[in-house]
């Protein structure tokens, strides 16, 4: 394969110099299938030995070379030059340091100050159930397969870099650390599920601070699905452990779910007061709801004056017809009435059509068959009953 020229446009910054960041361009010569990292290293070797980049394995395992390429998070070693140049503006591949973390130099960010501090925050080690067995723990196979997704994390920080909640609230524990938290909450050998969940639910910058923007899902080079793990933490905290947090997380979820059961449609005017004041019609009279309503009063009045909300709909909500509402309620009764939640994790099972996909992490050769029987949970959800019995 022939060598081609690629123009790299790197964001350079040395905080110690006192100078502002600047763009620096170099043209490198490499085969198109080579990585952006190799391009950066060639630029450093040939043109400017002071270019700062952190790297080690060069094969997407160590997680050292996280950067932004053309504005998107990526591992420099895991991005081909030919792919990067397709997304390049004006022909130059733009390379920047990751976001949400302070720059140490050029493309090197301070992972310690942000990422690792947050990971340490979630107690990232196993706290054994006592007494510790003489031999190894015997655990349910599926529940361990379940946590392999979070174990695939290589701590590159790409999700932290792109987290939109952290952008406005730097104290948010964030996607990588919360995915790590699920790794232990989902582990049947761990003895502190409740404490872990309660801690993360009560923290104003914990699991309920995630804005559900999917940026981490998209950023992750290893398909860890950090947001999905955060949603599972919420699910287990609220549904299994009934943890009532002070961030309105559980109340909001309960109010939403109940209103759709009772009306078939979302009833916004009820949802908000119930999220603050508690999941019943009386929720709006709770002091917490009153305070919120008061602060939103100018907006509410304006909305009413402009005809934005129909007062009738605002008070009584909009409902499905009885026949359909009955059908919706029947679905609720059946599904919520199951002894254990039924959850399909495509990361583990893969899909029928691409069973051979590399993502399908079936180690046993006998992939679980979701739906084979009604009451069997193909992929354990890490619920309370299960952890107690393991």
């Amino acid at each position: 394969m022939s060598v081609e020229q690629f123009k790299l446009r790197m964001r350079r910054y040395n905080p110690e110099s006192g100078d502002a960041p600047y763009w620096d361009e170099h043209t490198v010569e490499l085969e198109p299938h080579r990585s952006v990292l190799e391009g950066i290293l060639q630029a450093r070797d040939r043109f400017d030995g002071s270019i700062g980049i952190r790297c080690s394995c060069r094969q997407a395992i160590c997680g050292s070379c996280g950067v932004r390429i053309n504005g998107e998070p990526a591992l420099a070693c895991h991005t081909h030059l030919e792919a990067a140049v397709r997304g390049a503006r004006e022909g130059a591949i733009e390379i920047e340091p990751m976001g949400n973390m302070p720059v140490i130099k050029d493309l090197i960010v301070d992972m310690d100050a942000v990422h690792w501090t947050k990971v340490r925050r979630v107690t990232p080690w196993l706290i054994n159930k006592q007494p510790v067995p003489e031999r190894e723990y015997l655990v349910d196979h599926d529940s361990m397969v379940d946590v392999t997704q979070t174990m695939a994390c290589i701590q590159c920080g790409a999700c932290v870099s792109d987290c939109l909640a952290m952008e406005v609230d730097p104290g948010f524990i964030g996607p990588a650390a919360l995915a790590k938290a699920y790794r232990f909450v989902g582990d049947p050998r761990d003895d502190r599920q409740f404490e872990r969940l309660n801690d993360l639910a009560q923290d104003p910058q914990g699991i309920f601070d995630c804005t559900h923007c999917f940026r981490c899902v998209e950023a992750c080079p290893k398909d860890v699905d950090p947001m999905g793990q955060i949603m599972r933490l919420r699910r287990i905290a609220t549904s299994d452990y009934q943890i009532v947090d002070r961030n309105n997380g559980r109340r909001h979820e309960a109010a939403f779910t109940t209103l759709v059961r009772d009306y078939g449609l979302n009833h916004e005017a009820e949802l908000l007061p119930r999220s603050y004041g508690g999941n019943s019609w009386f929720g709006k009279f709770a002091p917490a709801a009153g305070k919120e309503l008061l602060s939103s009063l100018p907006v509410i009045v304006k909305g009413l004056l402009r005809g934005k909300f129909n007062p009738k709909t605002a008070i009584f909500g909009h409902k499905l017809r009885k026949q359909d509402l009955d059908a919706v309620r029947a679905i609720y009764e059946k599904v919520e009435g199951r002894e254990r939640r039924y959850e399909l994790n495509l990361y583990v099972t893969g899909s029928d059509e691409d069973a051979e996909a590399p993502d399908a992490k079936s180690e046993t050769g006998t992939p679980s068959e979701p739906g084979a029987t009604n009451e069997q949970v193909p992929i354990a959800s890490g619920g309370a009953e299960e952890s107690a019995g393991a």
Binding site: D169, R235, H318, V328, E343
Partner: protein, 300 residues
């Protein structure tokens, strides 16, 4: 074309102008809307967060109802959040025959069954992929000349890319840009155009939520946009309804009008701002509209 139409909840609740403007715009584009008035809320991700199977079953019911609409070419929605929540459920339902069968067992008592492979498109996707930009352009009677429009996509309709079918052949995360251009407007790019409006955490962390909305509105203002356009009514709630509160959090005056996608299309197709419910917004699009002549243009 005939579509099974899912309007969502908010478009019939706190943003009635969205549902109303869609109904006005549809005939101008020869879209016949068959409203799925028996279907329930998608759960907006919150029900899935509570119980995945519950969300999958409720949405499978909606899909099954859509598949019963005779001669409908596809299902269409006007809410990014609905699109995202439904795509997530559909991904699981389509991935596994046994899972689908399991869910269909619950629907059987109503005589419903979901069959793999429903096409469900947001109005934005339908505009570009089914109607086509050339056709859209040919129907414009009042081009948005000189109007500087900032696209605001919202999260659920652009991520995750694989699930939403975004690739080089279907650059759906560029479609708002293309529609604005086709309508004769000028696209204004700004930092927040594909970021989160903050709505999902409005009850959990109000300050962070409003800060997100305020930052994006401010970015658009700095880029000299006259208004924003969004395909998501929940984004609209945070960007328009909550804008006065967002102004307080970010400490600057914003006054940035935010239009729903069918409103922007409707204006260019010759409808009057009032018909499109534009007087109902909290931030009135006065700066972009001459109310007496209905001519759209940049503020003088």
């Amino acid at each position: 074309m005939k579509v099974a139409y899912w309007p969502g909840c908010v478009s019939r609740g706190f943003t009635p102008e969205l549902h109303g403007s869609m109904a006005k715009v549809a005939p101008l584009l020869d879209i016949e809307l068959v409203e799925l008035d028996r279907a329930c809320c998608t759960g907006a991700g919150v029900i899935a967060e509570h119980n995945q199977e519950l969300a999958d079953t409720l949405n499978a019911r909606t899909f099954a109802l859509a598949q019963q609409v005779e001669d409908a070419e596809l299902m269409m929605n006007i809410c990014s959040t609905c699109q995202g929540a439904q795509s997530e459920c559909q991904e699981r339902l389509d991935a596994s025959a046994s899972y689908r069968e399991h869910i269909n067992q619950t629907l059987a008592s109503e005589g419903l069954s979901y069959e793999r492979g429903l096409t469900n498109k947001n109005f934005l996707w339908l505009l570009v992929e089914e109607i086509g930009l050339a056709e859209l352009r040919s129907r414009v009677v009042r081009p948005l000349s000189g109007l500087r429009v900032g696209p605001f996509y919202g999260c659920y309709i652009v991520r995750p890319r694989r699930r939403l079918g975004i690739d080089e052949a279907h650059p759906r995360d560029e479609y708002l840009h293309r529609v604005i251009e086709a309508l004769g407007g000028t696209v204004i790019e700004y930092a927040g155009m594909r970021k989160c409006c903050g709505f999902p955490i409005i009850t959990m962390n109000k300050e962070a939520s409003l800060r997100q909305a305020g930052l994006h509105l401010g970015d658009a203002l700095d880029a000299q946009a006259d208004c924003l356009v969004t395909p998501c009514p929940l984004c609209h709630l945070n960007l328009d309804l909550q804008q006065p509160l967002a102004e307080r959090v970010v400490g600057r005056e914003l006054q940035m009008p935010v239009l729903h996608l069918p409103q922007l299309v409707g204006l260019a197709l010759g409808l009057e701002p009032k018909e499109l419910g534009m007087g109902r917004h909290i931030v009135r699009p006065t700066s972009v509209i001459d109310w007496s002549t209905s001519v759209v243009g940049a503020a003088a």
